[in-house]
């Protein structure tokens, strides 16, 4: 399964990123906005992740997992 995931990642990156034109310095203003961040509010993201992880069978997906809890 790990090999399968790795193959998907490498294939996607090599196919998708090779033809992208670099974005010039003066064109990056919008990318710096809160709206464009992966997680503009890290504490909210951390708490929401904790809630979902404690109520669902799944976990992870954006970073390495931390410690658990005795959540019921």
């Amino acid at each position: 399964m790990k090999r399968y995931f790795l193959a998907v990642l490498v294939t996607t990156l090599s196919a998708g990123c090779s033809s992208i034109e670099p974005v010039a310095a003066w064109e990056r203003g919008y990318l710096a906005k809160d709206a464009m961040q992966w997680e503009a509010f890290p504490r909210e993201g951390r708490f929401a992740g904790h809630v979902y992880t404690s109520k669902e069978a799944s976990s992870g997906g954006s970073k390495a997992a931390g410690g658990g809890c005795g959540c019921n």
């Binding site: 670099p22 003066w26 919008y30 990318l31 709206a35 929401a48 997906g61």
Partner: protein, 397 residues
């Protein structure tokens, strides 16, 4: 860079940088180094110190009368307080301290039996359980020209559970700063020591060890679009059953894989961004899941409003049955291992007033057993909940 980010985030669409503007000439070189970051971290410590507090209330719906055989219908209410302080240290470091307190009360499912109609019904844990969890974490981060690296130590302690974890993450940029690679690893040592009050439990003290890794890459696609993809792997070993459930025997090893992706697109005319995230999850207990999130981040002057929807669908673990088959080596009737869908609808907003940021959020989480499965596999204890938050953050020199 953080100062530049703050400046640029306040720019209106009419003031966006152009190739010939005076502001571009002043800031161009610095903005050119804006990386395609996984998080909103630049290659320099934050320019300001920040202190914040958030209060959240989590409220599970009562179990429907028709699904209850015995016990209290009331489920968990949790009050959560988060405090944090983050500050630059010297020219290349930052340090952040986080404190979180969870105060819990309510009852939880003990086991699933058969009611008078022959249908699965829930026997709850009886009297309300009260517990308190305190988590403390310290993160230090070092910044250099092409990336940053962070180290975190945290400890979580409650009456019956203690977790100690360390994690390390690193991000580095391509030469043109249009691509950022990220990697992280963590290790956690947990101890479960059940409180023997309301229901019988059959262990005194057990350990769980968890190791986790993540590797990802984000890529700037255009001046208004960015995407990322990542792989995660986590393995836990030790006592992985739930000691508070009567019929719960799980393997002592659990491997989990994730493949995740995200996309952000800024619409200049609308002054808002479309946010799309997806995660595929697979584990060696037989569960597969899909999680998709869609949000619209609308800027309103220097404030914002973000409606969002999250859809989650999971298959059941191999050893789950709505009424556990205790003759098998592994068995469980925990609704969290059943097949179901969950939909979350929420709204998040903040109001910026000089150096103060006021934050509010509310969301509704509803579940339903997956339609194609038989009633035999439908968990009667699926949970719906409300979650709401208010918070204040203050930045200062």
């Amino acid at each position: 860079m953080a100062a530049i980010k703050k400046t640029s985030s306040r720019m209106t669409s009419q003031r966006v940088l152009t190739a010939n503007s005076a502001l571009t000439r002043r800031l161009g070189v610095a903005i050119a180094s804006l990386p395609a970051y996984h998080n909103a971290q630049a290659d320099a410590p934050p320019a300001f110190s920040e202190i914040g507090i958030r209060y959240s209330h989590y409220d599970e719906d009562a179990l429907p009368e028709s699904n209850l055989i015995f016990g209290s219908r009331n489920r968990y209410d949790i009050d959560v307080t988060q405090l944090w302080f983050e500050t630059p240290v010297g020219g290349s470091w930052s340090v952040a301290m986080d404190l979180q307190n969870d105060s819990m009360s309510g009852a939880s499912p003990w086991f699933v039996g058969t009611n008078l109609d022959g249908q699965p019904g829930v026997i709850m844990s009886g009297a309300s359980i009260h517990d308190n969890r305190v988590e403390v974490g310290v993160t230090t981060r070092y910044f250099w020209a092409d990336g940053n690296a962070g180290f975190n130590v945290s400890q979580s302690k409650e009456d019956d559970y203690e977790a100690r974890s360390v994690s390390f993450d690193v991000a580095w940029n391509s030469d043109d700063n249009s691509r950022t690679w990220t990697a992280s690893a963590s290790s956690s040592n947990d101890t479960v020591q059940p409180v023997k009050e309301n229901i019988p439990v059959f262990i005194d003290r057990e350990d769980i060890d968890t190791q986790s890794t993540y590797f990802g890459v984000s890529q700037i696609l255009s001046s208004t679009a960015i995407a990322r993809i990542g792989l995660g792997y986590t393995i836990s070993k030790g006592y992985l059953s739930d000691p508070y459930k009567l019929n719960d025997s799980r393997p002592d090893r659990h491997e989990r894989f994730t493949l995740s992706g995200g996309y952000r697109h800024y619409f200049i005319e609308q002054r808002g961004a479309l946010q799309v995230d997806y995660r595929y999850y697979h584990d060696d207990w037989g569960t597969n899941s899909h999680t998709a999130e869609l949000a619209w981040h609308q800027e309103i002057k220097q404030h914002s409003l973000k409606p969002y929807i999250r859809y989650y669908r999971q298959s059941r673990a191999d050893f789950f049955q709505s009424i556990a088959d205790v003759s098998q080596p592994f068995f469980a009737d925990d609704y969290r291992l059943s097949a179901y869908d969950a939909t979350t609808i929420g709204l998040h907003g903040f109001y910026q007033l000089d150096d103060w940021r006021f934050e509010a959020q509310v969301e509704r989480y509803t579940t339903s057993a997956t339609g194609s499965i038989s009633s035999f596999d439908k968990a009667p204890a699926l949970v719906d909940f409300w979650r709401g938050t208010v918070g204040i953050t203050w930045r200062f020199d």
